[in-house]
Symmetry: C3
Subunit: 319 residues, 3 copies
Amino acid sequence: MKLFSSVNDVANVRQLVQEALDLKKSPFAYQDLGKNKTIGLVFLNPSLRTRLSTQKAAMNLGMSAMVMNMDKEGWALETRDGVVMNGTTVEHIREAAAVMGEYCDILGLRCFPKLEDRGEDYSEDLFNKFVKFCGIPVVSLESATLHPLQSLTDLVTITETWKNPARKPRVVLTWAPHVKALPQAVPNSFAEWMCRAQRDNMVDFVITHPEGYGLAEKFTPGAAINYNQDEALAGADYVYVKNWSSYQDYGKVIPVTGNWMMDLNKLSLTNSAKVMHCLPVRRDIELSSEILDSPHSLVVHEAGNRVWAAQAVLKQMLM
Amino acid sequence: MKLFSSVNDVANVRQLVQEALDLKKSPFAYQDLGKNKTIGLVFLNPSLRTRLSTQKAAMNLGMSAMVMNMDKEGWALETRDGVVMNGTTVEHIREAAAVMGEYCDILGLRCFPKLEDRGEDYSEDLFNKFVKFCGIPVVSLESATLHPLQSLTDLVTITETWKNPARKPRVVLTWAPHVKALPQAVPNSFAEWMCRAQRDNMVDFVITHPEGYGLAEKFTPGAAINYNQDEALAGADYVYVKNWSSYQDYGKVIPVTGNWMMDLNKLSLTNSAKVMHCLPVRRDIELSSEILDSPHSLVVHEAGNRVWAAQAVLKQMLM
Amino acid sequence: MKLFSSVNDVANVRQLVQEALDLKKSPFAYQDLGKNKTIGLVFLNPSLRTRLSTQKAAMNLGMSAMVMNMDKEGWALETRDGVVMNGTTVEHIREAAAVMGEYCDILGLRCFPKLEDRGEDYSEDLFNKFVKFCGIPVVSLESATLHPLQSLTDLVTITETWKNPARKPRVVLTWAPHVKALPQAVPNSFAEWMCRAQRDNMVDFVITHPEGYGLAEKFTPGAAINYNQDEALAGADYVYVKNWSSYQDYGKVIPVTGNWMMDLNKLSLTNSAKVMHCLPVRRDIELSSEILDSPHSLVVHEAGNRVWAAQAVLKQMLM
């Protein structure tokens, strides 16, 4: 594997999930693979879980990790070609990416959307140029529109915890309120992976959100979409809670009517569902404390699985 | 050992000191203990010595270290239960600590007091919640009220340099001036460890400070307290110099009369004492340059011993 | 080798260059040398290439690396002796350097000039005090006036790519425009190394810059200096492009007449020269995009060689 930026970079999703679960049982079985190899983790935006879990995954495989927090160092990158660099950008992505490629065997990149210009964000211009110019394998640590390591983790967690071979689990992605305008990367990515898993006969997938919060269609092929949260939650085995800002009225927080926060009342509509969230979570805004502190919550377990998802991807890249 | 937050977490202080001195002679003798283990070092406040020495101690034991400078990433944690998280805190300590516990085998945490509300600081609310929710062994890298790795280092340094088996050394903790209001964590902790060492027949311990600067009594059981610095220094073998803000008039800098800075004149009152300080030190405010640049100063040697103190504690946690 | 701060610290430049090229072929041949050794990389100013390449070099030699970004932690150091530290500096370099020396086997230090007081910058006061007080081997990661790891890299790159044994390459250092006032460290250092290489019969060396931009004479012994860029470029095999602020009118940007940006027109005056730059480069200000995106550019290759230059120096220090 040379690129992990979307579920479309994965030939066999079921196999990759199994790989992650196998690594969870034997974390140190492949330390020779990464011997004398270095991963560079480049953050244009802050990270906690992604940095730690990917660093841990790399170390489990015998790799060294070098972290570059470029957001904190004010190393503003120029991405446009043909501009005279007499402004605030200090280095062009052509040089910056190529140089990092010289020092590392694999690169991870986090670059959030600006949520100003949908065309720019959804072009994944910065991420794609980084991939192009660095010349080595790249793993997304969350790009403008997708967060594939999170979504692989989520599918790993569902597969690991679903104990009924007689039927597929019903997975519901529900929009939730927040105090800020957030990217669509996590829900886009979760939808993309669940739609693929649905095609692979691993889950049934439903999306529920208020009107005006529809995700880009290219990420939701085959998903059932329901504006009525109560209806969507009926019979759910897994509820994935997440806020996102509007894709149509791009980057905006559109007022909604009714209560969209996931709480025990809503949980009672489900099939005693497990509740998931990528974290960080705003308690009692997105998701009630009662659920988070109950056995229904998978959020910490899910965060722990980030290591094995990252390790499965890095292992593929090293082989 | 599952927790190292105070001398009260140590069953046998004398043995732990000896362990540190043994590790100083054979730093790499236990590298198998830490193989494939990871320590996470979480800093809610800046650190230089503590971060480097603990990282080095972990590496000496074969561990990997992951550093999280959360102060610089603006990852404001919510610690209160039952609050609707619609403000500036982005994650609850329940999730943040639990997730770090998923990625690490041991966690170190630094969290300074705010010096605003004594009850809040002295409850060690944040530190204790972190311990409770992370679910793995925790070592304090300085909490609101204590800095046990520093104090263990100090006792190691005194034990290492005291060459007179005929009697115990006389150790004096003296308040010193500063330009800012500082926490009581270092003097509280030094007092706690020296009082324990006094009970264990390792030292005689005296505290001297201006009126109004008395430390919390629970940290000073059995210590002689003297408001007259000259009297206290008489016959001292070790003088530990440190500023702290008032505990009574909490967090305030109360004006003092007389000269409390440790200098050669005051040193002449002692038994040619060795002078200690946890660093960083304000030269010619807390402690005179003449002393710092003389053979009386142990400050650099003491800082070097931070490695072996941390390594002794981590070794106990790994066993 | 105990100190690497200038070409004058190197007994045999030709041999050190060859060492770097040998390590490039066998990066992991000396991992036992660095076993259980630690390098501390102290940055008083930001770094990308230098941090990553030195960290990689250390890891290739089996060392651990600890990074201290002191610029971001606001750890202001006092360097003057005899001052009462009642201001904004929180620690004296005497203690700070000595303590770092306790935790590491080798230290790297980056400290830029302030470009305010030439005497202060050119005394290398901070760098020299750090060397004096830390008590262990030190490698410059760019000081106020020199950047020797960059210059060694540059000489390695020239040696590696020059394929004509019949004659020496003609190397031209040319001033280029920029939007900011930059230090003279890179051109001083490049001049110092090329003048030495010229004495060692490895290159012919020419410097060209507008009037008012003359470098300090102590760094340019034996260099041909020409204010006419076109004349200087005639027959060049390597063109090293770099901006710097004035040494005479210290730290100032003096207006220049004519076009000093390196572009294809100017390249046509050369012997189809290879073009070098230490990066980051301002495209179409210092150097044209056309050159940077052509096979004439060595900038990425040169940045990659930073690893081998650093590794050759660290290997010398470990032996």
